[in-house]
C-alpha cells in the first residue's frame, strides 16, 4: 500500500470526530449542529473505509454507503424540522426550544 499507513487515516478520523463533537456541544444554531453531525458521520465513514482497506474486505465500504443513506435521511428530517421551527416564528436557538423539557 502506497502512502501513509492505516493508523494515520484513523488518527484523522478520530480528530474529525472530536471536532464534530465539539461543534454539536458548543454551537447553539440548529443548522450548525446539523453540519457538525455530518462531520461526525463522515469521520465514522473514514474509519469504516480504512478498516475495509486494512482487512481487504468490502463489508466496511457497504456499511459506509448505508451510513451515507442514513445521513441523507437525517438531513431531510433535520432541515424539515428547522424550516418548521422557522415558520412558527420561534427562535433558531437550541437552548430556547425547551417546550418538551420536564
Amino acid at each position: 500500500m502506497q502512502g501513509p499507513e492505516i493508523a494515520w487515516y484513523l488518527v484523522v478520523s478520530a480528530l474529525l470526530f472530536s471536532i464534530g463533537t465539539a461543534g454539536v456541544l458548543l454551537r447553539r444554531s440548529p443548522l450548525i449542529v446539523l453540519l457538525s453531525l455530518e462531520i461526525m458521520l463522515n469521520a465514522a465513514n473514514l474509519a469504516l473505509i480504512s478498516f475495509a482497506r486494512l482487512h481487504g474486505d468490502h463489508d466496511g465500504q457497504i456499511f459506509a454507503l448505508a451510513v451515507m443513506a442514513v445521513a441523507a435521511s437525517e438531513v431531510v428530517v433535520g432541515l424539515g424540522l428547522i424550516v418548521a421551527i422557522a415558520r412558527r416564528r420561534l427562535d433558531l436557538d437550541v437552548d430556547r426550544l425547551r417546550v418538551l423539557r420536564g
Binding site: 502506497q2 502512502g3 501513509p4 499507513e5 492505516i6 487515516y9 484523522v12 478520530a14 470526530f17 472530536s18 471536532i19 464534530g20 463533537t21 465539539a22 461543534g23 456541544l25 458548543l26 454551537r27 447553539r28 444554531s29 443548522l31 450548525i32 453540519l35 455530518e38 462531520i39 463522515n42 465513514n45 473514514l46 473505509i49 482497506r53 486494512l54 481487504g56 474486505d57 468490502h58 465500504q61 457497504i62 459506509a64 454507503l65 448505508a66 451515507m68 443513506a69 442514513v70 435521511s73 437525517e74 438531513v75 431531510v76 428530517v77 432541515l79 424539515g80 424540522l81 428547522i82 424550516v83 418548521a84 422557522a86 415558520r87 412558527r88 416564528r89 427562535d91 433558531l92 437552548d95
Partner: protein, 187 residues
C-alpha cells in the same frame, strides 16, 4: 517518487479536511459553515480514493457535496437573516469548557481503544486487487451478499422522504399565525 506523491496528496487532503472541519464549527455565518463543509467533504473524498474506495469517493462527491449540501444552502437561503445572529455558544462558561473537555476525552478514548485493539495489526494492510472498491464490486455485493441492507436502505430513504413532506406541509397553527399577522398589519 510515486510514494512521495501519494504522501503529498494525503497530507494536503488531511490538512484540508481538519482545517475546514474547524472552520465549520467556528464560522458565525451558517452559509460559510456550509461552504466549509463542502470542502471538508471534498477532501474526505480524496482520502477515500487513497484508501481504495473509488465508488464511495464518487458517491461522496455526488450525494454529499452535491445533493445534500445544495439542500442545506437552499434552506439557509430560505431562512435568510434569521439563520444569522444566533449566539455562537450559550450557557455558562463551564458548559463550554465541559464541551471541549468531553470532545478531547472522546478523542483520547478512540485513539487508546483503537491502539489497544488493533495497534500491532494496523501496519500490515491486506493485499488487494486493483478492482477493490470499484463500482462493479460494490454493486455485485449489494445485489448478492448485502441485499437485505440494500432494501432496508431504500425503505429508510422512503420514510425520510415521507417525513420531509409531512414536516414541510403547513399546519393549521401556522395559518392562524399568518392570519393574526395579516390582521395586525391591516389594523
Amino acid at each position: 517518487m510515486g510514494d512521495f506523491l501519494v504522501w503529498a496528496v494525503w497530507i494536503l487532503a488531511a490538512a484540508g479536511c481538519l482545517g475546514s472541519g474547524l472552520a465549520v464549527i467556528t464560522f458565525t455565518n451558517p452559509f460559510y459553515s456550509a461552504l466549509a463543509l463542502i470542502s471538508n467533504l471534498g477532501s474526505l473524498a480524496v482520502l477515500f480514493l487513497l484508501a481504495s474506495a473509488e465508488f464511495l469517493a464518487a458517491a461522496q462527491v455526488l450525494v454529499y457535496a452535491g445533493a445534500v449540501m445544495v439542500m442545506f444552502l437552499f434552506v439557509i437561503a430560505y431562512l435568510g437573516d434569521r439563520s444569522e445572529g444566533v449566539r455562537l455558544s450559550g450557557g455558562p462558561s463551564w458548559v463550554r469548557i465541559g464541551a471541549v473537555v468531553a470532545a478531547t476525552a472522546l478523542l483520547v478514548e478512540v485513539v487508546v481503544v483503537i491502539g489497544m485493539a488493533a495497534g500491532d495489526r494496523l501496519s500490515d494492510p491486506a493485499q488487494v486487487r486493483g478492482s477493490f472498491g470499484s463500482p462493479e464490486e460494490i454493486g455485485r455485493l449489494f445485489l448478492t451478499d448485502h441485499l437485505l441492507a440494500f432494501e432496508i436502505t431504500s425503505i429508510v430513504l422512503l420514510v425520510a422522504a415521507v417525513g420531509g413532506v409531512v414536516l414541510g406541509s403547513r399546519s393549521r397553527a401556522e395559518d392562524e399565525l399568518d392570519e393574526a399577522e395579516a390582521a395586525r398589519a391591516g389594523a
